[in-house]
Every structure is written in structure tokens, then in C-alpha cells.
């Protein structure tokens, strides 16, 4: 049964618990797959065009990747791993470079979510929250769309 079906048959408290439950389960299964598949060869790090912008530059891809996998396990990541995670902008050059079909782009995305504290672990990298993010979008919508468009399109 899908989330919508489950939500329809459960109590308000259960429904609150269900919010994001399938996403969290999916991410957990992806983490398990990545931890199992990755051989820490470091090829993904070597081809990344963003490593030079890291606050903790490194040359040894194997150890940086080991640090990323530690973050995925909920452990403390090395400064080099956290530095790389912080500058990942999803260039995707790592995907064809991986000899083990890990999908390092997904690995880095999940590591970023984890390091930011988004998956229930303590945050290891800081994220500057923009409290005006959605209100700014609403404001631009109000400036650019008619009242009727705002009602029907947003």
C-alpha cells in the first residue's frame, strides 16, 4: 500500500510518523547499497572538478571516500571528506568514473543530507538557513503574476 493509502487508514499520530517515512526508508536502503558496493578506489574523487574548492584539500581519494562512507554510517567524517561533501555541486563526472556502479553522485547527495543533519544524525557541516527563501518566491510571484494566475497556478 502506498503512502496515501496508509495515511487514509491511520490515526493523526501515525500519519505524522508516516511523513517522509518512505523517503527515509529509501535513503536507508540506498546507503546500505552504496556501503556494500563501494570499494574505496577513490576514482570518483580524482575526477571531481570541485575538489580544489574544498576547505580541506586532499590528494588521496581512497581516504577521502572512506571518510564519506563513515558519514553515511552516521560516524564522524574526516575534515577532507566533509570538505569534499560541502563543495559537491552534482557535476556527475564521478558517475562514469566509478568501476563499481555505486552512483557516487547519489553517494555524495546522501552524505550531504547526513552531514547536514537531515537524516537524524548530528550535523557535521553548517548550512546557512534562509528564513525568507519561500516568502521571497511568493513575493516574486506576487510581482510577476496576476491575482487570477496566483490563485490558479500556485
Amino acid at each position: 500500500m502506498g503512502t496515501e493509502g496508509q495515511a487514509a487508514q491511520s490515526s493523526p499520530a501515525d500519519r505524522r510518523e508516516l511523513i517522509g517515512a518512505r523517503l527515509r526508508e529509501f535513503e536507508k536502503s540506498e546507503v546500505a547499497r552504496i556501503l556494500s558496493a563501494c570499494t574505496r578506489c577513490g576514482k570518483c574523487f580524482e575526477v571531481c572538478p570541485m575538489t580544489r574548492y574544498s576547505a580541506a584539500p586532499a590528494s588521496d581519494g581512497e581516504s577521502v571516500v572512506s571518510g564519506v562512507l563513515a558519514v553515511l554510517r552516521g560516524e564522524q567524517g574526516s575534515p577532507e571528506a566533509l570538505g569534499w561533501i560541502a563543495v559537491c555541486t552534482r557535476s556527475g563526472t564521478c558517475v562514469p568514473a566509478c568501476p563499481d556502479s555505486v552512483d557516487p553522485r547519489m553517494m555524495m547527495r546522501l552524505a550531504r543530507m547526513t552531514a547536514l543533519g537531515g537524516r537524524g544524525h548530528a550535523a557535521q557541516i553548517a548550512m546557512k538557513e534562509d528564513p525568507d527563501y519561500f516568502n521571497r518566491i511568493r513575493a516574486f510571484a506576487a510581482l510577476q503574476l496576476t491575482d487570477e494566475e496566483l490563485k490558479d497556478w500556485t
Binding site: Y53, G118, T154
Partner: protein, 279 residues
């Protein structure tokens, strides 16, 4: 006539002309397009630091699209499109297919070409990123679409920026500065009149380059729209170029809608910001 949902996204609401042009293009191509976007249709990709919130937003948005009972969602925003494919569709129960807007235009290019009747004399380079290409080959397809416009001369450039879109670089000023500088150099070495973005996230940045006097900037849809004779005003770019004086263009009535205090705190700093470009 195929009934589709046109999922334009969130941040493109800065560019009403792009949203309106896309809808006109879709309708000219024979689609019954229902627009949906804004924070109430957010994909949740911005919520990396809170996966419970991201999951809730994804379920809400997929549910809304299911309720629209249209077979296909056509996404404008690359972040929304990929987040749907990678996370939302795999953790919810979508009853619709997904297509990226560029793919749809390219699939219907034979129908689009006769609509491009107005010449747009312009030598351009296309601003490209590495990160989306393996999902949708936009770096190949968008230049092909632009080359169909009478008068447009697309100059190939070897520079492809890292990352997915310029939005990913908001917290990486050195890397973003490199992108700006390399883009300016690519335009100059090509002898181009303008740089053309594929994504609205990049266009927001490139408007800063135009405001700083570095190069003219457009989004590809604006050139297609111009060639079709559509005449939506690019207000965001006008506001960006006006900077501190943007309020004069926006006018008191619209400023009251968003609130003067909010405008000055949350919008004006973005309009005044100029990129750092090294020579």
C-alpha cells in the same frame, strides 16, 4: 490534444516572462497545459537538512499532480525534474509520466520550427553545466533548438561549468566567481553578442553579468519566444539592471503587495548584487 501539467517550479517565479512564454509555446505546439508551481508544489530538494520535511513536501506534491489527473508532468526546473526521478517517484505513487521541457521541445521541433518566423540577429554562446547532461542532453539539444531561429548564430565554446546549475554555487563564492570569469572569457573569445542560459537558476546569475556591463544575457526560451512574436517583458532583468532604483520600475502598487519592509530586506539586496569578474 494531450493534457499535461506544466510544472514550472519555484524560483522561476522571478521570471514571469519565462513561465508565460513556455505556456504559449506549449499551447502553440498543441498541448493543453495546466501550470502548477510555487512553494505549494515544491519538490523538497532544497530541504537536504530535513528529510522529514522533504518527504512530506514530495508526497504532497505528487498527490496534487495525481489529483490533476493528467497523464504527463512536463518540468521546467532541472532540480525538480531530477528530484522527482531520483527521490519523489521512487518513494510515492505517481500516476503520471515525467518529461523535461527541453526534451518536449526537441521531440516537437518539426512543429516548432515553422513558428519561428521573426529573425533574432544575434551571435551567442550557450552557458552549459556538466551535471544534467547524462539525464537530458541539454548541452546538445538547446543549441540545436536555438540554431532553428532565423538570425541566431550559435558559437561553440569549450567551457562547460562544473556543477548542476549556478544555484548550487550560492555558498561557494570562489567557484561562482570562476564560472562568471570563465563565462565572460568564453563570450569574449567567441566574439559573441550574448550568453544564453539553459536554466533559470543560471539566468539569474547571468542577469548580474549584464547589469555589471560584462555581456548581454538571455534564457533560450526568451529567444524562442521572441522569434515566435511573443512579447513578454523581462522584468527581472530590468529590475536587476536598475538595482537600487528597481522600486521605480516595480511601482508602488506592486510594492505594497509584497510589503516595503520585505522588499528592502529580502529582494533589494538580490537586485543590487553584482558578480565579481576577473579580467
Amino acid at each position: 490534444m494531450e493534457r499535461i501539467t506544466f510544472w514550472y517550479g519555484c524560483n522561476v517565479l522571478r521570471h514571469g516572462d519565462i513561465i508565460h512564454s513556455c505556456l504559449d509555446i506549449l499551447r502553440a505546439l498543441g498541448f493543453d497545459a495546466a501550470p502548477a508551481g510555487g512553494p505549494d508544489h515544491c519538490c523538497g530538494t532544497a530541504k537536504d537538512a530535513n528529510q522529514t520535511a522533504a518527504g512530506g513536501m514530495a508526497t504532497r506534491t505528487v498527490g496534487r499532480f495525481n489529483a490533476m489527473q493528467r497523464d504527463r508532468v512536463v518540468a521546467w526546473c532541472p532540480s525538480c525534474h531530477i528530484h522527482m526521478l531520483e527521490f519523489m517517484a521512487r518513494t510515492n505513487d505517481p500516476r503520471f509520466g515525467m518529461t523535461y521541457f527541453v526534451e518536449l521541445l526537441h521531440q516537437h521541433r518539426d512543429k516548432l520550427k515553422p513558428l519561428l518566423t521573426h529573425a533574432v540577429p544575434m551571435r551567442i554562446v550557450v552557458h552549459q553545466h556538466l551535471g544534467f547532461e547524462d539525464r537530458v542532453p541539454v548541452n546538445r539539444v538547446v543549441p540545436e533548438l536555438l540554431a532553428m531561429i532565423p538570425g541566431v548564430d550559435v558559437v561553440e565554446t569549450p567551457y562547460v561549468a562544473p556543477g548542476f546549475t549556478c544555484a548550487s554555487f550560492a555558498t561557494l563564492p570562489q567557484a561562482l566567481g570562476d564560472i562568471h570569469s570563465n563565462t565572460a572569457a568564453a563570450v569574449q573569445s567567441a566574439g559573441a553578442d550574448a550568453v544564453v542560459s539553459i536554466f533559470h537558476q543560471c539566468y539569474r546569475e547571468l542577469c548580474g553579468l549584464e547589469a555589471a556591463g560584462v555581456t548581454s544575457a538571455y534564457n533560450y526560451v526568451q529567444l524562442i519566444a521572441r522569434s515566435m512574436g511573443l512579447a513578454y517583458e523581462d522584468e527581472y532583468k530590468a529590475w536587476k539592471k536598475a538595482g537600487a532604483d528597481a522600486a521605480d520600475l516595480i511601482g508602488p502598487e506592486r510594492l505594497r503587495k509584497v510589503g516595503i519592509e520585505f522588499y528592502e530586506r529580502a529582494i533589494l539586496p538580490e537586485l543590487r548584487k553584482r558578480p565579481a569578474v576577473r579580467n
